[in-house]
Amino acid sequence: MTTTVRWNVLGLVLGIVGVAASASAEPMFLAKQYTRCTACHYSPSGGGLLTPYGRLLSHRELSTTGGNGAAPTAGEEDDPHGEQAFLYGALGNALGPVHLGLEMRPSHLRVNFPGGHQDQNLLMNLDLIGAVQKSGWTAYATAGREPAAHGEDVRFISYEHWIGYQRDEGFGVRAGRFLPAYGVRWADHTAFTRAFEDFDHADQVYGVEVSDTMGPSLLQVTLGAGKAEEFREDEGQRAFSLTGRWQLDLTPRTALIGSAAYRHSTDLDPKSGLIGAAFGFAPTPRLSIWTQVDASLQTRARGGRSWVAVNETSFEAYRGLWLKFSPQLKTSGGVPGFSELRRLLFEADLLPRTHWNVGVSYYHDHNHTFEVSTSTVLAQLHLYL
């Protein structure tokens, strides 16, 4: 194997191994008529702590065994109790207005590559997430461990911490550390439109986001002072960034998204830009189909000028059992020196009980330029207590 090929194989492997994946919104819930992340999550860009409504939905409508579970009465504004609540309600009302979630994701990974394989047991996530919401204001923070990656030590990290205000009429603003809104936020942080476009697990920015809902439209604009991790580690990598996302809900089961992003140059990277479109529709209450296509408009250090396309088709085969198929492509259009990557992802997600998610994923990644393939099996127990 040549050195170049080895590096490409390593890149594919590391892309899968990655590190912590934040809990994310599930675009597949478009099939349940949920086009917006904020129906179930505190964060306007999705992912992270579930609201009381999101916890209830996870219990009553998503888990295999929760269909007949108890629920607060209609009109209730209180938190869910029992199985739906933090630590299954063990703390009762002791937390007052503070909402907590504990997320952990023990996983096993097996990566097969030419000439060998790698097995790894890892705890992909261990994060405590908290939020307080009152009179339109939300304070939100995570605290946890970032698993060891590339020989580094495990360390403390707060992926998100921000304060936001949301008016009933639709206008909202937040400031702090968060992942900018762009395209579809796939649950899998290694999806090509996340991993290759700086929307990965630790790509949050310090910035300000302004959003507004106008009828069926949602506009989100983020002005960032730079990636949060670069504030901590490398001043020369800080760069002003601007991200915009516009979503139009054509029907409760059909959504169109346009996105654009600009990142100024750093000591290492030239300025870069992205523009993309996504379309999702759910022809039945058990099937959702999302497709996102992005174009990178500027030369970037990691992959050059490129086009990325991701499709995810999700089908609820049985209550709480979702099957996913996701073909993905990253291509530079044949520009010498840059690789064309193709991926086929098959996944089964079982939600047997509230906030228990057992997932098995099979990735087949192929570097078309160097004709190298890897396959990865990821088994994970995602606990969201």
Partner: protein, 194 residues
């Protein structure tokens, strides 16, 4: 033009004339296949559809009022479906209060008056006003309507907004998520001569 094509055109012409002729004579039309869809915008953004196919009724061209249609359209609110069981329960029992019986278990549209359409041959686009009985309250509603001919039947599509507080329906709120005050009702149905 082939013989078969000429014959087909004659059939279409005869059918069309018979429809228009019947309407002009004050015919009675029964709602057959239909659907009511209510788009409910959420306070947190996005929306969901509540739907039912339980639409019945009869409309008759009025001899007394040229632009009016006698009769009514009724929707069985016990069958309305939002795709989520708990939401169905809340909608039907807590907010629409269908168990209260008459006046609550159905939504009834009556006293329909067409505007911008010739009631004798009401094909095309126009508007309508009508009286909607919902949650024990009767209010006037208005909106666009489109009527097309499909064989010997009418294909009708109409929509109108409903402001929930006008009908004394409590603001739907649950665990921080709610439905905004105004929902949009869309009605499609095929009316056949009875």
């Amino acid at each position: 033009m082939t013989h078969n094509l000429r014959r087909s055109l004659r059939v279409v012409l005869v059918v069309s004339l018979s429809v228009v002729g019947t309407l002009a004579a004050g015919g009675s039309w029964r709602v057959g296949q239909g659907e009511v869809s209510v788009k409910c915008p959420l306070t947190v953004g996005g929306s969901f559809d509540a739907t039912t196919a339980a639409l019945t009724g009869t409309l008759t061209t009025s001899t007394a009022r040229p632009a009016a249609l006698d009769g009514n359209l009724a929707v069985d609110l016990r069958t309305i479906d939002t795709g989520i069981a708990l939401r169905n329960d809340h909608l039907r029992e807590k907010y629409l209060e269908v168990d209260k019986g008459a006046g609550y278990d159905q939504a009834v549209l009556s006293e329909v008056v067409l505007q911008g359409l010739n009631v004798d041959a009401p094909l095309g686009k126009g508007s309508f006003t009508g009286s909607l009985m919902l949650h024990g309250v009767k209010k006037t509603v208005t909106g666009p309507v489109e009527i097309r001919q499909g064989g010997t039947a009418w294909r009708v599509r109409a929509s109108f907004p409903v402001n929930l507080p006008d009908y004394n329906i409590e603001k739907p709120r649950y665990l921080g998520v709610g439905v905004r005050d105004t929902v949009q009702v869309s009605v499609t149905f095929i009316a056949t001569q009875s």
